[in-house]
């Protein structure tokens, strides 16, 4: 086993920013808006670094797909403890249409190329909330998947994953190599330390083009329109329970 872990990190609009829809309803405003690493990707990086600190794996490689600015996100991962980065350059229209299918093809190709033992991703990105990339990557690689992980334990050649599912917690064991996706409670990401930020400067970020990996970026999806959610309407006060039941029946709710 190579002992190498691939961690996907996505550059998204910072979670605290107030999102605004573009006037032409083609998307949200991203120009000049603060971006940062997807919070679930931070958790994924933290988990990978923790595994390395426990000496269960040897190398953490951070991967991001996007324009030049994606390198900032990779640097953050390096400052948290990743060993090196891979920036898959995707710009312009290709970047606008980049979705889980394309990214999972890229990650699958890289996982093979880098001989990765494990691919750890965030469970979903906070901008598109797709929750697909991990699952698609596993399928393309024909690897098992441990998604919504709130606990990960490496045991010999298997991985025990505790998953957060609707009914509660599910524990499964997957063979390696595998794809895991991190859920909220998997860990608390560390702060980068000043020395680590400076060390990160010296770590290498390789530049790769999707074509080099033999990946076709054509999207099967077309965004027709992006709108704000409906404004919250005022409620109505009623006097009696009968009134309430009547109104609910009127609205077709019961």
């Amino acid at each position: 086993m190579s002992g190498r872990v691939l961690v996907g990190v996505k550059r998204v609009i910072d979670y605290a920013v107030k999102i605004r829809v573009k006037p032409d309803n083609s998307g949200v405003v991203t120009d000049g808006v603060k971006h940062s690493m997807n919070p679930f990707c931070e958790i994924a990086v933290e988990e990978a670094v923790k595994l390395k600190e426990k000496k269960l794996i040897k190398e953490v490689v951070a991967v991001s797909c996007g324009p030049q600015q994606s390198q900032e996100t990779i640097r953050t991962a390096l400052a948290m403890g990743a060993d090196r980065g891979i920036h898959v350059e995707v710009t312009g229209k290709d970047y606008e249409n980049l979705g889980p299918l394309q990214v999972s093809k890229i990650l699958a190709a890289l996982a093979k190329k880098e001989d990765a033992q494990l691919v750890i991703l965030g469970k979903q990105a906070i901008d598109d909330d797709c929750n697909q990339t991990g699952q698609m990557t596993a399928a393309l690689l024909d690897w098992p998947q441990g998604t919504f992980a709130s606990e990960v334990a490496l045991e010999a050649d298997k991985i025990k994953v505790v998953r957060e599912i609707d009914g509660g917690l599910e524990t499964i064991k997957v063979n390696t190599p595998a794809v895991l996706t991190a859920d909220l409670r998997l860990n608390t990401p560390r702060y980068a330390t000043l020395p680590n930020i400076m060390k990160a400067k010296k770590k290498k970020i390789a530049n790769v083009k999707p074509a080099d990996l033999g990946v076709d970026l054509t999207s099967r999806l077309e965004v027709l329109r992006v709108e704000e959610p409906p404004q919250r309407q005022a409620g109505v006060k009623v006097e009696t329970v009968d009134d309430l039941v009547g109104k609910l029946k009127e609205a077709g709710r019961i």
């Binding site: 609009i13 910072d14 979670y15 605290a16 920013v17 107030k18 999102i19 605004r20 829809v21 949200v28 120009d31 000049g32 808006v33 603060k34 971006h35 940062s36 919070p39 931070e42 958790i43 900032e72 640097r75 953050t76 400052a79 906070i126 901008d127 909330d129 957060e164 909220l184 409670r185 608390t188 990401p189 702060y191 980068a192 330390t193 000043l194 020395p195 930020i197 400076m198 990160a200 400067k201 704000e228 959610p229 919250r232």
Partner: protein, 420 residues
């Protein structure tokens, strides 16, 4: 209100936080708000500096801001939080790495303190004083002194205090009276220091005392450790702000301090003290910047929410103009402070004067900004439930310590009027 989808979804999964134990108190957004606005403090920074700033903002938002009011009201000296900060490298930011420091520049330091200050001015100001002392030992100490004191200070295993001011000598610092008589292998200290930040709770005291004749040339710098016989402390002062750090008089009664604890040579103490203060002034000014930044954001948020006379305050032209003036003064202050930091780092001829100008301008203007922000909150601004009053109270003293703003004017005018 615009899309809050992802957050709402996460909330529905039953999670109380997103990462790093965020607690959703209203002023946490000050550190996380990423508006592409004119007061964004990350403009003009290198990628690396933006990383430092991000860590500092994150730390301020998660570890300091939720506690800032409690620390102020209960007068808690947040040792554990500061040690956490030290683990990230904030204990000796501009101290050299060979003794545990982070080896960063004055500009990096200013950026970091500005960001931390948005979480708690008082605690950040103390951390900056601690950093100043660690730097003085790092720069003027010999190998033994550096190795003995710096690593523990950088990790905040031990805390430091800067002791220059006395009951009888504040602005006229060179007239200090605390005496240090040479007795063989040690000095006997007699006298007292006033208004010492951290006094009584800290472990290492960097003390300016008189070993020679009158004036600055008779002053030396000694490092005194807590527990030394003859070292005692006055009562804890009750202050308007800076309540997360204790302030006490430091009293020396025949306190024996080894000659080995003297930084530099006899008569060099005043020079060491002033060099320390150049950086200290930038740090204090940076703390004022952070408070002003936080206050402008709080004021802005309030204007958007509060309605009077049938519309939100943000439609009122007077308030719009006032906010614009506040933002302008904030950015102007920030630019001057950062330029002074760069000048000091490069040892430029104008460094000392520029540091004085930056301290003078930034502390005055930022206080006015915070005060205006309080005014914009109306009656609510006066309540301790709202953070803006704490920013006002905490940075008021920045116009006084580390050299009053009047002394800053003395330094600047001297530079202008000296014949050369």
């Amino acid at each position: 209100m615009a899309t809050v989808g992802p957050l709402a979804r996460i909330a529905r999964l039953g999670c109380s936080h997103i990462c790093r134990n965020h607690r959703l108190i209203f002023n946490r957004n000050v550190q996380r708000r990423g508006i592409a606005s004119c007061i964004d403090p990350s403009y003009g920074l290198t990628d690396e500096q933006k990383e430092f700033q991000k860590v500092a903002f994150d730390f301020a938002a998660n570890e300091m801001a939720p506690h800032m009011a409690e620390w102020d009201q209960k007068e808690i000296f947040p040792v554990e939080t500061m040690r956490k900060a030290a683990q990230l490298g904030f204990g000796g930011i501009y101290v050299q790495p060979d003794v545990g420091g982070s080896g960063l520049s004055r500009l990096d330091t200013s950026i970091i303190f500005e960001a931390l200050s948005t979480g708690c001015v008082s605690t950040t100001a103390y951390i900056s004083i601690h950093n100043m002392c660690a730097w003085m030992i790092d720069t003027f100490g010999n190998t033994e002194q550096r190795e003995k004191f710096c690593p523990d200070l950088c990790s905040m295993e031990k805390f430091a205090s800067y002791c220059l001011t006395e009951p009888g000598s504040g602005s006229d610092a060179a007239s200090l009276l605390t005496s240090a008589q040479l007795k063989g292998d040690h000095y006997l200290l007699n006298g007292s220091k006033a208004f010492i930040s951290g006094g009584g709770d800290t472990d290492v005291y960097v003390v300016m005392c008189r070993t020679g004749g009158k004036g600055p040339k008779g002053i030396s710098c000694l490092v005194v450790e807590k527990g030394t016989p003859g070292l005692s402390f006055g009562k804890k002062e009750k202050k308007v702000g800076w309540n997360s750090q204790p302030t006490r008089a430091v009293i020396f009664e025949d306190c024996a301090v080894p000659v080995a604890n003297r930084l530099g040579v006899e008569g060099q103490g005043f020079n060491i003290a002033m060099k320390g203060l150049n950086g200290g002034r930038i740090n204090i000014a940076s703390c004022s910047l952070g408070a002003a930044h936080a206050s402008v954001q709080l004021a802005r948020d309030h204007l958007l929410v509060r309605k009077q006379f049938g519309e939100s305050l943000s439609n009122n032209q007077f308030l719009q103009f006032k906010l614009a003036e506040m933002a302008t003064k904030l950015v102007a202050s920030r630019l001057l402070v950062r330029e002074a930091a760069t000048a000091l780092q490069e040892n430029r001829a104008d460094a000392v004067t520029l540091c004085s100008m930056a301290k003078l301008f930034a502390t005055d203007e930022c206080f006015n900004v915070c005060n205006q922000a309080l005014q914009m909150h109306g009656g609510y601004g006066y309540l301790k439930d709202y953070a803006v009053q704490q920013f006002v109270r905490d940075i008021r003293v920045h116009q006084i310590l580390e050299g009053t703003n009047e002394v800053m004017r003395m330094i600047i005018s001297r530079n202008l009027l000296s014949e050369s």
